[in-house]
């Protein structure tokens, strides 16, 4: 009879890794022969295999427990389970918070990019063509934002892909993941934003032109845009501040709704 040996330093060779497969009978005949050759040469490996077999024997010897009672379902249990399902409010709040957070972050990024490109166009003192890339950027940004539908409120709950998911337990988290993916596809609000920025962007772009352009028709828009620049600057700050506040608020609602849902899971 062998007692478990005290700890011995062992090199992590592939033979020791293969010992598990050997003990489990998961090696091919060729692998088995090679392993047994190595086994004969290495007392360390022999001890490792012995310990692994001993451990496996102890684990398989753990008693099987009979079911303490029948786990058969009855209509009362099903009704109780339905009653325990989370109410609509936290689920809706979670969806809204996630969508708001995603939209506001996307808007922040978009506004930031637009601001940067406006400043670059203005700094180059460009011509009318400078307005075109800005518009093009806006359009490409619009095209990049998908028009996917919002998260399906009822469906995700309990419809996560792996059939093995515990429905009620995993529901809120999986629901949240689905909602994140759906929210990232964007919403109609993103379409409205660029039009407003487009108009301000174009005026901003043309506002940097006057250095090279003596055309009277361009002068008044330049003057207008020059006078608008300070307002545009403070307007941008207001917009940034609003979007950041919205993101923080959405994050707060998100966290609260998740905790609220967790109480029901």
């Amino acid at each position: 009879m062998r007692n478990p040996l005290p700890h011995v330093l062992r090199r992590k060779t592939r033979w020791f890794h293969q010992a598990d497969a050997y003990v489990d009978g998961r090696v091919t005949p060729v692998e088995r022969d090679l392993f047994e050759e190595r086994l004969e040469e290495s007392p360390e490996l022999q001890e490792h295999v012995h310990e692994t077999r001993q451990l496996k024997q102890m684990l398989s010897g753990l008693p099987e427990h009979p079911a303490p009672r029948s786990f058969a379902l009855n209509p009362g249990m099903l009704a109780e389970r339905e009653r325990r399902k989370a109410p609509l409010a936290p689920r809706v709040a979670l969806q809204l918070a996630q969508a708001t957070a995603v939209v506001s972050i996307a808007a922040l990024v978009f506004v930031g990019l637009f601001d940067v490109s406006s400043n670059m166009n203005g700094g180059a003192g460009g011509n009318d063509d400078a307005a075109v890339p800005a518009s093009g950027d806006i359009e490409s940004a619009n095209g990049g934002n998908g028009s996917g539908g919002g998260a399906d409120g009822a469906a995700p709950l309990g419809t996560t892909e792996p059939p093995g998911d515990a429905d009620g337990a995993n529901g809120p988290e999986a629901f949240g993941d689905d909602a994140i993916d759906d929210g990232a596809e964007g919403s109609a609000d993103e379409d409205a934003l660029p039009e407003d920025d487009r108009s301000s962007g174009e005026s901003g772009a043309s506002g940097t032109e006057p250095a090279g352009d003596a055309n009277a028709q361009d002068a008044s828009p330049d003057l207008q845009s020059r006078s608008e620049q300070p307002e545009t600057g403070s307007g941008s700050a207001l917009l940034y501040g609003g979007l950041v506040s919205l993101t923080v608020l959405a994050a707060g609602v998100w966290i609260y709704a998740k905790r609220w849902l967790a109480a029901y899971s």
Partner: protein
């Protein structure tokens, strides 16, 4: 009654999808021991295991419409394992416990119940070793514990365990290896306890 004896899993699943609760309960009766034993080994507590097993069957009934065929036992065990994982996570969140020992008070509902048919000496020895081994299992990370329980304790093949754990056989092999390494070090810390078991067997 006849349905329980002669009906295949596929037929019971089909009937359950049509809302036939007795058909689903026939599946429950067929696999409740397997599910309960998985839960008890994963959670280390009888009461928690009962709750988890019941919740697993409730979840399975709700999800039966999405079952697309295959091994029903694997599917039920997967739901049960996920239920246990969620239960541990919920308890950890509620009690802000840093170790699994704090999550369930194992003294209230110990897993190992002595077999009164044995002699008192054997009963005590076996119970002590089983309890120590269960405690050792609870020291493993959940994924390793699940793999070890399914392969070594419950004896399922690697391929089925990979399906239950929603991963590949290679990952299961890796988790088994790491889990056994850790258990080996725990066994070495208690040589007298585990040595007594080996002596009684030989």
């Amino acid at each position: 009654m006849d349905a329980k004896v002669t009906t295949s899993d596929e037929d019971l699943v089909r009937q359950s999808k049509d809302g036939d609760l007795p058909a689903f309960n026939a599946l429950v009766e067929r696999y409740q021991v397997a599910v309960y034993n998985l839960c008890i080994r994963l959670l280390g507590n009888r009461e928690a295991a009962e709750d988890a097993a019941q919740e697993a069957f409730l979840s399975a009934y709700r999800a039966i419409g999405r079952f697309e065929g295959g091994n029903v036992r694997s599917w039920l065990l997967r739901i049960a394992a996920n239920q246990c994982k969620d239960e541990l996570r919920r308890k950890r969140r509620k009690h802000r416990a840093s170790s699994l020992d704090e999550i369930f008070d194992t003294m209230d509902a110990p897993v190992e119940v002595p077999d009164h048919a044995e002699s008192p000496e054997d009963r005590t020895a076996r119970s002590a070793v089983s309890t120590a081994l269960q405690d050792a299992l609870m020291e493993l990370p959940f994924d390793q514990r699940r793999a070890i329980v399914l392969v070594d304790v419950l004896g399922y093949p690697y391929d089925e365990v990979a399906t239950i754990c929603e991963t590949t056989p290679g990952t299961i092999k890796s988790r088994i290896h790491r889990g056994r390494e850790k258990l080996r070090s725990i066994v070495r810390r208690n040589p007298e306890l585990f040595g007594r078991q080996s002596r009684s067997e030989e």
